[in-house]
Symmetry: C2
Subunit: 203 residues, 2 copies
DNA sequence: TGCCTGGCTGGCACTGAGTGGCACGTTAGC
DNA sequence: GCTAACGTGCCACTCAGTGCCAGCCAGGCA
């Protein structure tokens, strides 16, 4: 169709532009708040037009939440790379490492982003939508990795849903501790609670 | 302050008005689609002003999704009413009965609503937001019912998250079967997959 | 009966998100 | 140099959502 050899270059320019806009935008959000920041302001700060902004992102929410997609993707990839004879729960626990490392790289920022998301209703909703898409990816990945019977798709989906639930619970606990608790430790506890050998909370 | 004896009457009028608007609105959504229906049209059909609509609902999404809140509340209530010496997983499974009964009352409508939610991104996001609030309620309810040590709040949160995950997986499977599979049966399977005595999917 | 008060409603105007269409500039290929 | 394609900016438009003010319709009170 077109000069394919040059597409990567143009693509890289777009990617760079995109990540620049992301940085600028998140900076504004953390500074002023999500609802208080208009797309107009973002565009002025980033040096692009409103129209272009909406060509890069579906909306304001997308800027914040798109980061999670990459992390979720890495998490899934991390899971399939694990040895097949390993216990599934261990693999699922380990699929959190990309997120762990990201948070460890800048805990204060991760914490600020958590509260940003939690405080803005529309952002929170978009975030949960992404988490649910992650759950869907994880469900297929579990089925294929262990080559499961399609009749157990429901069970695999439940395991996937429980895993992202553990992620949500652990990250929430971490944020509520003000980032003081150990995130890896919380992930360990969260996933251990799902293992069959875990002590039951009741009776 | 004011004539308290009459407040319930006025409240009932508001409730009736509200549920009428809900019926009209959902009818329009199922007929034309979510994004294709404007608030203007809803108001014309329901015989109210745009301003009044936004006094009753936070937005279009709220009309559809507010139903779930009631069901979630009933589910939590249903769970605490269960005997304390009963196995927790059984109680959690049984907290789905309000939803089950609602779906059983009009399966075709429940199915249509599922697809309505799934097809409209903003509606889907709002829905997941409600589900997550339900998860939060369930987490506190689990802790209080079994009088758990606050140090195991994380574990309780994981169990709650896993439960709503089972709900999501089961309802999705039901919808994808076109409503042919037994919803109670799917709920049984979904919650059984979380029990410690469940056969593990892998090796 | 007339007045007053409080809650609910409608109308109006405004901000801001998101979209479609068109024109311009830049770049790649001939 | 010409042209086709793509990215971008500008303009105009629809629609969601909100603040403000005016009117309506109770019930309470003299």
């Amino acid at each position: 169709m077109s000069p394919k050899a040059h597409e990567p270059l143009q693509q890289r320019m777009k990617d760079k532009m995109r990540s620049e806009v992301v940085e600028t935008t998140i900076g504004l959000f953390l500074d002023k708040g999500f609802d208080e920041t208009t797309v107009e302001e973002i565009c002025t700060a980033a040096g692009i037009s409103r129209r272009t902004f909406f060509r890069y992102f579906r909306g304001k929410e997308d800027v914040v939440v798109s980061r999670l997609s990459k992390l979720a993707e890495d998490g899934c990839h991390c899971f399939v790379e694990r040895p097949v004879d390993e216990d599934g729960w261990t693999g699922l626990r380990m699929s959190m490492t990309p997120f762990e490392e990201w948070a460890h790289g800048n805990p204060a920022r991760a914490l600020a982003l958590y509260h940003l998301i939690e405080d803005a209703p529309s952002l929170r909703a978009s975030y949960l939508d992404r988490v649910d898409r992650w759950r869907a990816s994880l469900a297929t990945v579990i089925s294929t990795k262990f080559d499961l019977d399609p009749r157990t798709d429901l069970e695999a989906a439940v395991i996937a849903a429980a895993s992202v639930g553990a992620y949500l619970a652990a990250t929430r606990a971490w944020a509520e501790s003000g980032g003081n608790d150990s995130l890896p430790g919380l992930f360990d506890r969260a996933f251990n609670a799902l293992r069959p050998e875990a002590p039951q909370l009741w009776g």
